[in-house]
């Protein structure tokens, strides 16, 4: 901020020159209800105006990257559940896609569609939680309860699919853990029928609400150029009008086989980021429907040393070969998977609900990564928080934190 002198009052109110004003320092967090976890912000306030905003992260650091180095590629999968615990399915898929690229394998067609489907379910569930908490921070309490009604259904579907609601660990290297049942597909289809109406309900409460518009329009503006320079990704970047979505520009899984649109904003303010996420939910719903309709038949895992093909998915010839080394393969997998992998390094990014989640592996040929680096969108977005907040009011900080959609588990890793 220019023009603010720490020791002198602003020139226009120099009524009593002997009086000095001074900013107060307010410590917001790490146990503040609106900082979405354990984010700590140190705000310097001039009245209600933010002069300086400094985020402090690391309160939820669990050393995921280091832990990953001590585990085989197979057994590090559950660690990624705990990164962004709101959309663990997408983290799993990001990790699995990266490992598959490293190993040079790919899932079969059916698994690709299943993964795309569950990833979009994860996106909806994440955006629902984001919408609820964001609206709650801005002061609207009712959308919070409404979104949990729909989120609960997705959680139930996840539970029916793989037994876990939050930390799913459902995708596997070279496929998925188990096949989807017809009941799951029916329930999911019924959900997709209903869901657009529910989004309309949330929009009725917020999109045209005069107070919501006043609180979000023109707040936390970040132009496209700045957004790119700050490394923003995902809906936060698209809100500024940059048409960048990894699902479209470097498709993985079945994203090149489904139709969807990338919503983009114009002004780069809180409202545009809100609208982008709302439309993304509708698009995710559309992708899920296409996945259900196009879901091909076939195996759900490939036959590789990293996978354990389910019964009935193998041809007669394969079965004979497989039965021969059944026990040795079972033993290897139970001990954490093969102890060799191709040498080299790779960076693979996927589009998780919060932005670009990248996994960077350096493999030295052993079954464990020499280095596992996670590029988490929340961390990058948190660094842009001062840029968004400074010059605004205390209430805008809350709106901004909500609009960049951070989860501290992923930020601190």
């Amino acid at each position: 901020m220019e023009g603010i002198n720490r020791n002198q009052p602003p020139s226009d109110i120099r009524i009593a020159p002997e009086l000095h004003t001074r900013e107060i320092t307010l410590n917001m967090g790490p146990q503040h209800p609106a900082t979405h976890g354990v984010l700590r912000l140190v705000l310097e306030l001039d009245g209600e105006t933010i002069v300086k905003c400094t985020p402090y992260v690391g309160y939820l650091h669990r050393g995921t990257e280091k832990l990953g180095e001590n585990r085989t590629y197979l057994s590090a999968l559950p660690l990624t559940d705990r990164l962004d615990y709101v959309s663990s399915m997408n983290n799993n898929i990001g990790y699995v896609v990266a490992v598959e690229r490293l190993l040079g394998i790919g899932p079969p067609e059916r698994a690709k569609f299943i993964r795309t489907m569950v990833a979009e379910m994860g996106r909806i569930s994440n955006h629902l939680l984001w919408l609820g908490t964001h609206a709650l921070d801005v002061g609207a309490i009712t959308p919070f309860l409404y979104v949990f009604r729909e989120r609960e259904r997705i959680m139930d579907l996840f539970e029916g699919l793989c037994g876990a609601r939050l930390t799913v660990s459902y995708p596997r290297i070279g496929g998925v853990r188990n096949d989807v049942s017809q009941k799951f597909l029916d329930d999911l289809y019924a959900f997709t029928e209903e869901f657009p109406g529910r989004v309309d309900e949330y929009e009725t409460l917020l999109t045209v609400n005069r107070i919501w518009l006043k609180r979000t329009k023109g707040v936390g503006v970040i132009p496209a150029e700045d957004a790119i320079n700050w490394g923003l990704t995902g809906p936060t970047l698209r809100g500024s009008g940059v048409r960048y979505d990894i699902r479209k520009f470097a498709p993985y899984d079945a994203y090149d086989k489904v139709e969807f649109e990338i919503p983009i904003g114009y002004n780069g303010d809180v409202y545009d980021r809100y609208m982008v996420r709302i439309i993304e939910m509708r698009q995710a719903n559309r992708i899920i429907r296409q996945c259900i309709e196009k879901l091909p038949k076939g195996p759900i895992t490939i036959d590789s040393p990293f996978t354990f093909p389910p019964k009935g998915s193998l041809s007669r010839k394969d079965k004979e070969r497989f039965n021969k080394d059944y026990y040795s393969r079972h033993f290897t997998l139970a001990k954490g998977g093969p102890k060799e992998a191709p040498q080299g390094e790779i960076y693979v990014a996927t589009e998780v609900p919060k932005g670009e989640l990248g996994f960077y592996f350096i493999s030295d040929g052993t079954g464990r990564p020499y280095r596992m680096r996670i590029r988490s969108p929340s961390f990058v977005h948190t660094s842009a928080l001062p840029r968004l907040c400074e010059g605004g009011l205390v209430a805008d900080v809350i709106a901004n934190i909500g609009s960049i959609d951070i989860v501290l588990g992923e930020c601190d890793r």
């Binding site: 209600e48 609207a140 309860l145 409460l205 107070i211 609180r215 009011l393 209430a395």
Partner: protein, 354 residues
């Protein structure tokens, strides 16, 4: 020697005044008791209303349909440890909730609940109510100051600015009513409304009514103007350091404030305890409803506003601080002033015709 002092003619006024004081004390006891019971169940009503608006049930466990929940809450708050921050200014910290609560409860004294039932039928009832609601702001400000916490301090400051800013449009919006009724006595205002369409000031004073309702939300610090206690920004605002029954006093004070503001709205715009005249016009039903006691009508109208508070809370987000100020100073005050001018001109015009 006592005969000189206790003469019948001196005794009688003493006894009379003692009896009067006794009656007033009984009245006060009744009103305080009933008001607190209403406040307790207003919280229950709020949680149930908002609960059903938010597709959930609200309190359901304590007693049938959770009917005993407010009592359980009250007991819990009574028995909670009274934590006082070490760096707090103790004396001020102690008296702040008392000031807030007392100011709110004292306002009940001048409200006519039904005909001839008012503790203090004073000439300046409306001004007294304003005075008391302003006094309540002291409780908020000094509680924010005495807590010695930055969140509480910011909450206190916000509240001071908010209450001061909205006192003005609120006062101005009622000037129209004063001009029409020609009195500040609340009972007189109710009676004066009988000569107007529907027996309400609502229609001739629609501008004043709208301004008053908006200002009333701000004055009591309720959504969408709940900035002093904005949970997501200032955690809880000015009472963040309070616990136990001191916290409960703030809580009760806020709800009593809601009842007071609703009562003013009912008395000044909706005809107080009287039956709305369009209902009397309906055959049969009108006859039955006119037999309903005034207190029921009064409570019905008050609870309409209480419901409005809850409805708004479940619907809209919160304004930002600068926007709140802009609404108060740039919209409400000019509208209220225009209302005064219009009311005055019409009154002059009508007088001239007569």
């Amino acid at each position: 020697m006592f005969e000189n002092i206790i003469r019948p003619e001196t005794l009688e006024p003493v006894v009379r005044s003692v009896i009067n004081i006794g009656i007033i004390l009984i009245n006060i006891a009744i009103i305080v008791g009933i008001a607190l019971l209403h406040v307790a169940y207003a919280t229950y009503f709020e949680r149930k209303t908002i609960g059903h608006m938010q597709v959930r049930l609200g309190p359901i466990e304590v007693g049938p349909h959770g009917i005993l929940q407010p009592i359980a809450d009250g007991l819990k708050l009574l028995f909670k440890e009274d934590v006082i921050p070490q760096v707090a200014d103790r004396t001020v910290f102690y008296i702040a909730p008392v000031i807030f609560f007392t100011a709110a409860m004292t306002s009940l004294a001048v409200i006519p609940f039904f005909e001839k039932f008012v503790i203090a039928d004073i000439n300046i009832g409306l001004l007294f109510l304003f005075a008391m609601s302003s006094l309540g702001a002291y409780g908020i400000v000094i509680s924010g100051w005495a807590s010695n916490s930055k969140y509480a301090f910011l909450g206190g400051l916000r509240s001071a600015a908010q209450v001061l800013s909205y006192e003005i449009p609120m006062g101005l919006s009622l000037v129209g009513v004063m001009i029409m009724a020609g009195s500040l006595n609340l009972s007189e205002i109710v009676k004066a409304q009988q000569g107007y369409p529907l027996g309400l000031y609502l229609i001739p004073q629609i501008l004043g009514f709208v301004v008053f309702v908006i200002a009333m939300f701000a004055e009591t610090g309720r959504c969408p103007f709940d900035l002093p206690e904005a949970e997501s920004e200032l955690v809880a605002g000015y009472f963040v350091e309070y616990s136990g029954f001191r916290f409960a006093l703030f809580f009760l004070g806020e709800y009593v404030g809601m009842f007071i503001m609703s009562s003013i709205a009912v008395v000044c715009f909706l005809g107080g305890w009287t039956v709305p005249q369009f209902i009397l016009g309906i055959p049969l039903i009108g006859d039955i409803l006119s037999k309903v006691p005034g207190i029921i009508w009064f409570l019905l109208k008050v609870y309409f506003f209480i419901f409005l508070y809850y409805w708004v809370r479940a619907t809209v987000p919160r304004y930002r601080y600068d926007q709140l100020m802009a609404i108060g100073w740039k919209i409400l005050i000019p509208v209220a002033l225009a209302n005064i001018v219009i009311t005055g001109l019409i009154k002059l015009w009508v007088k001239g015709m007569i």
